[in-house]
């Protein structure tokens, strides 16, 4: 057995393919956090008074809060005064006229990441239209969306253009004092996305490629707000499989979803932040608060996530099922390798009658990593006929990794039906040998076995994303078994 371990370890030592940094001058605030910093951020963004007040209120609340320590993760204490809370890349300001004017360093980065040529210009912020395919594609998208009445823009823009919607819904699902990281985000959030789907509108496209193009520079404190008005539908894709490096080690994003009566929001994420080196040094700490509110009857919110990056992942996309007959879903694949730590799961809060939720969580651990599922299913006293089905499966690769499951169930209604299934398995030598004996090399075999394990989650992803996610797992596991 020990020989096998040594062999496994040797293979697990894969290197992060995007282990490089780009030097770009930026317009940054010195480290530190106080009310002046918040005023500076708000002023920089030319925000209306209500926004500044909101941020300041959040900051004051945050000062009173404690950093949570209940998660099954270990990291050195973060000094929040050693972080700079505002940074804008300089090259964005003037807007290069063509790729020739773009910082060659940045272009080389895209090349290493394998970003398609036509997307590079847009990512680099080239401000011309019609010249590059992607930009005109984006313009076409914009036209199509505005015809449908869909609002899709950076949240900083929405604060200017749709202040009434922002004021009504921002913080309505994740209150500023919800948790330490959400409080911090509310005070200093940099940017993010805003989506509004009007009544009865089915968003004519998946909000994906467009987002990818616009996703850059949202910074470490990302804030997203999606509102689906009555009877509308939207599928939103966040992140991309291209590995992302960031100078900012701490990331604390907040995502709020609101589904009104009969509306449906499908939110898919692929997260591949820099995980750190083999000892976990330099990896991103990802503390994310994601929550959806099924505000109206018959509404539905579905989270699907594939998590492969970050040194630390602390993330529990949740659904509050307030409307009667509303539906919440959570499909997750979390893969950890080397020294990565993930504590992730979901909360399904059943408040309305006949509310239903499904949780399918798949954890894959390799190397010396640790992966935990933490889930809460709560049924309120008025949630007659509530139903939940939970399935948590863990897959271990090698013998130095860990997988843990922390399910919490609280039911205050006798009519509720809650099911929980959990399994832990290993990629067995028998499975590997069967594959090899049929002519399949071991790396291919592991990726096939892992993809099979994740099948139930992948089938929830939009097709194109599912293929990418499969490939991502393959790359992330490269050489993890000999």
């Amino acid at each position: 057995m020990s020989e096998t371990n040594a062999e496994v370890n040797q293979y697990i030592k894969r290197h992060y393919e995007a282990g490089f940094v780009t030097d770009i001058e930026s317009d940054s605030l010195p480290p530190g956090l106080n009310e002046e910093v918040i005023r500076f951020i708000s002023r920089k963004k030319n925000e209306p008074e209500f926004m500044l007040e909101w941020r300041l209120n959040a900051y004051r609340q945050w000062l009173e809060m404690q950093e949570p320590e209940w998660a099954h993760v270990n990291y050195p204490k973060i000094d929040y005064n050693a972080i700079s809370y505002y940074s804008a890349p300089k090259s964005q300001k003037d807007g290069p006229k063509s790729l020739d004017e773009v910082d060659p360093e940045l272009l080389r980065t895209y090349e290493k990441l394998g970003i398609p040529l036509h997307e590079r210009a847009a990512l680099a912020g080239v401000a011309v239209d019609a010249v590059f395919d992607s930009v005109s594609v984006a313009t076409t998208f914009k036209e199509k969306l505005s015809e449908a009445g869909v609002v899709f823009c950076p949240i900083s823009e929405a604060i200017q253009s749709h202040p009434e919607l922002v004021q009504k819904y921002l913080g309505s699902v994740v209150p500023v004092k919800d948790n330490f990281f959400a409080g911090l985000n509310s005070a200093v959030f940099s940017d993010g996305s805003f989506v509004y789907i009007p009544k009865g509108v089915r968003c004519p496209m998946e909000l994906s490629t467009y987002f990818r193009i616009n996703a850059l520079n949202t910074g470490q404190f990302e804030r997203t707000l999606i509102i689906a008005d009555e009877g509308s539908y939207v599928s939103y894709l966040e992140g991309c499989t291209a590995p992302m490096r960031d100078e900012n080690q701490l990331h604390a994003a907040v995502v709020e979803l609101v589904a009104l009566e009969g509306a449906e929001i499908k939110y898919s994420t692929v997260q591949n932040w820099y995980p750190g080196d083999e000892e976990g040094r330099g990896g991103i700490y990802n503390f994310v608060t994601k929550r959806g509110l099924c505000a109206g009857a018959g509404s539905k919110i579905s989270w699907t996530q594939v998590e492969t990056g970050s040194a630390i992942t602390w993330k529990y996309p949740s659904v509050i099922l307030r409307g009667d007959n509303s539906v919440g879903e959570f499909y997750s694949v979390a893969l950890t390798n080397n020294r990565q730590q993930a504590d992730t799961g979901t909360k399904m809060i059943h408040l309305g009658k006949n509310t239903r939720s499904t949780i399918i969580a798949k954890g894959i651990s390799a190397g010396r990593s640790d992966s935990s599922y933490r889930g809460l299913v709560r049924v309120g006293p008025k949630a007659e006929g509530a139903r939940n089905f939970t399935q948590c499966d863990s897959l271990l690769i090698g013998s130095q990794c860990g997988a843990h499951t922390f399910p919490y169930i609280e039911s205050k209604n006798n009519s509720a039906v809650i099911e929980h299934e959990a399994t832990t398995s290993k990629v067995s030598e028998d499975q590997l040998f069967l594959c090899q004996q049929r002519g399949i090399d071991p790396e291919r075999a592991v990726s096939m076995i892992v993809n099979g394990f994740c099948k139930e989650v992948f089938k929830e992803l939009p097709m194109e994303f599912a293929v990418e996610a499969g490939k991502l797992l393959e790359v992330s596991l490269e050489g993890s078994v000999g």
Partner: protein
């Protein structure tokens, strides 16, 4: 085709094969019989290259090359196929995806083009019909929720797809009813040709009524103690292993 000379092999430090010598020529079917713990399964696993089965001395030549130098997947690509006694499940990986990956790995090794999805499906449907399994099984996860008999048929189906030069059957007949036994036998017989060889490991003579072997060997205490033709199996059925002067206790002791 296959030439095993004076082979010694151990599992977890325990010597199981002790000077085994065997020659299998193209087109021949050899049956290996013997008491529990005599090393029958160890032999098939050593041939397939299973990790943990350590060859300490002796040689195995296959089709002119040194088999022991090859990784398990390379052996498979060279045409060694092992039908498992206890086939494992691979949940979520469809039979069809698994087989297509396998077949194309082998074809690539032979310098052939990958088989396109359409031709592959046609072939797979034909082969699965030969083992009396519903084509629906192609869509299911590898052995996922299959009954014992279905798993064995699936093994034979894979063998028919991959068309090995040397098929190793490790007690494929154990636990099968007479119909399933017939299906397995038909599969193996369909594969028989002047270029292919088969090594059958079995406890029971009855399989050999359906797959008639050219040679029968008795394996005991890690080496072949008696070889003969088809009639040897009948004799064993009648008399047991006792008349061969095998100390069954010693043999059983080899089991771990």
């Amino acid at each position: 085709m296959l030439s095993i000379k004076n082979l010694y092999a151990q599992v977890e430090g325990k010597e199981i094969l002790k000077g085994l010598t065997l020659d299998v020529k193209p087109g021949e079917v050899h049956a290996i019989m013997g008491p529990n713990g005599s090393g029958k399964s160890t032999l098939t696993h050593v041939l397939a290259g299973r990790e943990g089965y350590e060859v300490t001395s002796g040689s195995i030549e296959f089709g002119g090359s040194d088999l022991l130098e090859l990784e398990p997947e390379e052996r498979a690509r060279e045409g060694v196929f092992l039908a498992f006694q206890y086939p494992v499940e691979i949940p979520g990986v469809s039979n069809i995806q698994f087989l297509r990956t396998a077949l194309n790995s082998i074809r690539k090794h032979r310098g052939e083009e990958e088989m396109d999805a359409g031709s592959f499906l046609k072939l797979a449907r034909q082969k699965i019909g030969m083992v009396n399994l519903d084509p629906e099984f192609l869509k299911r996860g590898v052995n996922e929720g299959f009954s014992g008999g279905e798993k064995k048929r699936n093994e034979i189906m894979q063998m028919l797809m991959l068309e090995p030069r040397l098929a190793l059957l490790d007690e494929t007949d154990s636990g099968l009813d007479i119909d399933a036994l017939q299906v397995v036998a038909n599969g193996v017989n369909a594969l028989r040709s002047p270029e292919r060889s088969v090594l059958l490991v079995t406890h029971y003579q009855r399989l050999l009524n359906h797959i008639v072997p050219d040679y029968v060997h008795v394996l005991a205490n890690g080496r072949i103690v008696k070889s003969g033709g088809r009639e040897l199996a009948l004799e064993l059925e009648e008399k047991g292993y006792g008349w061969l002067n095998i100390d069954e206790d010693v043999a059983a002791d080899q089991e771990s």
